[in-house]
Symmetry: C2
Subunit: 457 residues, 2 copies
Amino acid sequence: MDENEKRLQDKFSQLKNYLDNGDKKRFRKTYLDMHFYDQSTFYLTLNKAERTTLYSILEPDEMGDMFDTIEDDNPLIPELLKEMDLSYASKMLNDMYDDNAADVLEHLDKVDVDRFLEQMPRNDANNLRGLLHYDTETAGGIMTTDYVEFHEEETAAEAIKALKKFAKTAETIYYIYILDSHEDLVGVMSLRDLILLDDNDTLSEKMNSDIITVNVDAEQAEVAQVFRDYEFLAVPVVDHANKLVGIVTVDDVIEVIDDEAQQDYSGLAGVSMDEANSDGPLKAASKRLPWLITLLLLSMITATLINHFEGLLAEASILAVFISTITGTAGNAGTQSLAVAVRRLAVEEINRHEFFKLIGKELITGFVTGLVTGISVCLLVGIWKHNFVLGMVIGLAMCAAITVANLAGSLIPMLMSSFGFDPAVASGPFISTLSDLTSVLIYFSIAGMFMQYFVRA
Amino acid sequence: MDENEKRLQDKFSQLKNYLDNGDKKRFRKTYLDMHFYDQSTFYLTLNKAERTTLYSILEPDEMGDMFDTIEDDNPLIPELLKEMDLSYASKMLNDMYDDNAADVLEHLDKVDVDRFLEQMPRNDANNLRGLLHYDTETAGGIMTTDYVEFHEEETAAEAIKALKKFAKTAETIYYIYILDSHEDLVGVMSLRDLILLDDNDTLSEKMNSDIITVNVDAEQAEVAQVFRDYEFLAVPVVDHANKLVGIVTVDDVIEVIDDEAQQDYSGLAGVSMDEANSDGPLKAASKRLPWLITLLLLSMITATLINHFEGLLAEASILAVFISTITGTAGNAGTQSLAVAVRRLAVEEINRHEFFKLIGKELITGFVTGLVTGISVCLLVGIWKHNFVLGMVIGLAMCAAITVANLAGSLIPMLMSSFGFDPAVASGPFISTLSDLTSVLIYFSIAGMFMQYFVRA
C-alpha cells in the first residue's frame, strides 16, 4: 500500500502544478485517468481558489463521477455545493447516481434542496424527491433507480446492444431485470449468463424467475442479510404492489454493514461513534457527557442503597472491601450476556417460544458462571482473611449477583426488541450500572443475614 | 421477506417428497432451479439417509456450487465430508471456488486434507496447498485464483470469446486482468468497459493501467478498506515480485468486515462471540468463565487496596457509600475512551506525532468530562448529605478518577497497537476493572487528606 500511496502523492503534486500554472490540458488528462476515489481525495486537499479553477476545467458530469465517491456525511459538502455555480451544482447532482445524490441532498437544508431541484429537468427532480421520501435506514433509502430493465420478449442480442447504451449511466449493468407486459418483475439475469446466450434467445427463456426481492420498507439490516446469504452484487427492491422500484448495490450494503456494526459497538460502549477525528476535546466531551451524567444519576441510587446499609458497614467495615469486587464482576458478566443477546437479535427474530428458552438458557449460564466464580472468590477471601464464613457470604452474593446480572443482560435487550426498540441502545455501561444496584442489594441482604457469624466480637 | 420464506418452505417440503419417493427427475429440476444458498439451506435440513440419497442424485460439481455457500466454520462440515464417498468429496472440493475449498480444508485435520488432495489432479492439489499456506486473515487467505487474465495484445473480440469459456469456472468475469510479455500485471478492465470496445481494439489500448493492488501478506482489514474506498467488486493480489497471484472478491470482503466488527465487539464486551446458538449453557459458561475469573483476580487487587484503607473506612463508613459511584462512573468513561481509540486504530495507523496529540486530546477530554461530572456529584452529595466538604472530596476524586480512566482507555490500546498487538483485545471489562483499582486508590488518598474536615466529631 505504501508504494501506492507514494505514487498517489507524486501525482497529486503534479496535478497541483498543472492547476497553478493553468495547464488545463495536462491537468485533465492526468486527473481523468485517476480512479474516482483518488480524484475525490485530491479534490478534498484543495483550497477554495484551487477548487474554483477546478470547476472551470471539469464538466459537471466529470465532477459528478468524483462526487459519487465522497462520503455523504462529510461536513464540507454543503459549503462545497454553495461555492459552485447553482446550475453547475444542479447539473452535477443530476449526473450523480441518484442514490448518492439523494444522500447528499439529505444533509442539506430544505430551501437549498429545492433550489437545486428547481434547476433540474422535472422528471429527474421528481425521481430524487421520491428517493428523499424514504426513511434513510430502509431499502428505499439506500436504493438507486439507475438500473437496467428489459421486457421478457426481447432477445439476447437486443439486450446486449441496449446495455452498451446504459453502460455509462446505470449504476450496474451486471444484472438486468426483466418485466412482463404488466410491468411486473418476472425475472433476473446476470450479464455473465446473458453473454452466454445465443443472439436470438429471448430473455424469458433463460432468465432466473426465482427472484429474491426486498420490500422498499425493509430495514437496511435485513437487506444486508440478503447480500450475506446469497452473495449477490445487487438486489431488486419492490413496492407493496410488487412493482420494481429500484435496486440496492453491494457498495451501499458495505456502508450499511459498517453503520450497523458501528451502532452496536457504540451501544455497547455507551458513546456515540460519530465523534469525528476532527472534533476538539470540548466537543468530544460534550458528546460523552450526556451518557455519563445519566449513568451517574443511576449510580446515585446505588449509593442511596448502600447508605441504607450504613449501620451494617459501621459494624463491619470489612464489607466495604468487597463492594467493588462484587459489583465489578457481576457487571462484567452482565455485559457478556448483553453482548451475546444483542448479537443474536441482530441476525434473527425471536418468537415467544424461543424467548423463554433463551432466557432459561441464560439463567443457567449465569448460575453456572456465578457458581464457579462464587466458589473461587469464597476460597480466595476465606484463605486471605482466615474467615470462611465471610468467604461464603461474598461467594453467595457473587453467585446471586452474577445470575441476576446475566438475566438482566439478556432480558432487557430482548424485551426492548420485542417492543420494537433497537436492542443495541441497552448499552453495556447501562447494564453494568444497573447491575451495580442489584449486586449491592443482594450483597448487603446476604451479609445482613450472616452478620453475627462472620464479625468477630 | 416473509412471503419469500413461505414460498421457500413450500418448495422444501415438495423437494422432501420427491426425495422420499425417489423421484429423481423432478427433484433435480426443482432443486437445481433454486439459488445455491437456498439449496444449501435445504441440504442442511436433511438427515443422513436423505443426504446419502442426495449424493446419488447430484453430480459433484452441482454439490460444489451449493457447498460454496455454506459458511466454512459450520461445525457440521467435517462430518458431511466424511459421509461422502472419498472420490466424490474430492471432486466436489475441486469443483468449488478454490478460496472456499481452501477455507473448508482449513477446518479439517491434516490427515483428512491430505486424503482429499491426493485424489485431485496434481495441479489443482498444489494450487489448494498454496492457498492453505497463507495466514487466514491476510489477502492471501481470502483470495481466489479463479480469475481471468489476458495478454495485452489480445483484442476485445478475442477476450469476450474467451470470457464465455471462463464464465462457468471463474469466480468473477466482471474484471479481467491484463499481463505483459513478462507476465507482469499491467492493466485491469471491467466487463462494462470491455463490451463497449470495438471488436478489433486491443486490450492494452483501453485498459486501466492505474492499478490498485493489495499485497498477498496485507491484513484483511486493509483489503476491506480498499473496497470501502474504491467500491470495487474485486481487487488483484500481488506477491513481492509484483506478480498477480489471485483476486479478492467483494463477497469475501463482506465476511471480513463482519469478522472484524465481531472481533472489536467481542473485545469490548469481554466475551468470545463464537458462542454458537447451539451451545448449551455449560458450554456458554465455559467460554465466558476464563475472562470473568481473570478479571476477578484483577479486582481482588482492588479489594486488597481498599483493605489497606480499612482504618479510614472504620472511621468514616460514609466513604463506602460512594465507592461504586466513583468506580462505576470512571469505568464508564474509560470504556468510552477505549471504544473511540479502538475504532480509530481500526481505520488508521498512528505515528508518533499523532500519538502524543491524541493522548493530549484524550487527557483534556477526560479532564473536562471529569470536571463536569465531578461538580455534578459534588452538588448531589453536598445537598443530600448536607456536607459540602464530603461533596468536594467525592467530586475531586471523581474528576481525577475519570481523567485517569480516560487516559488509560486510550493509552492502553494505542500502546498495544504500536507494539503490534490487536488493540481490540484490551477489552471494556479489562479497562473498567483496571480503572476500579486506580479510582479506589485516588478516592481513598483524597479522602485521607480531607478526613478531618468532613467527619463530624
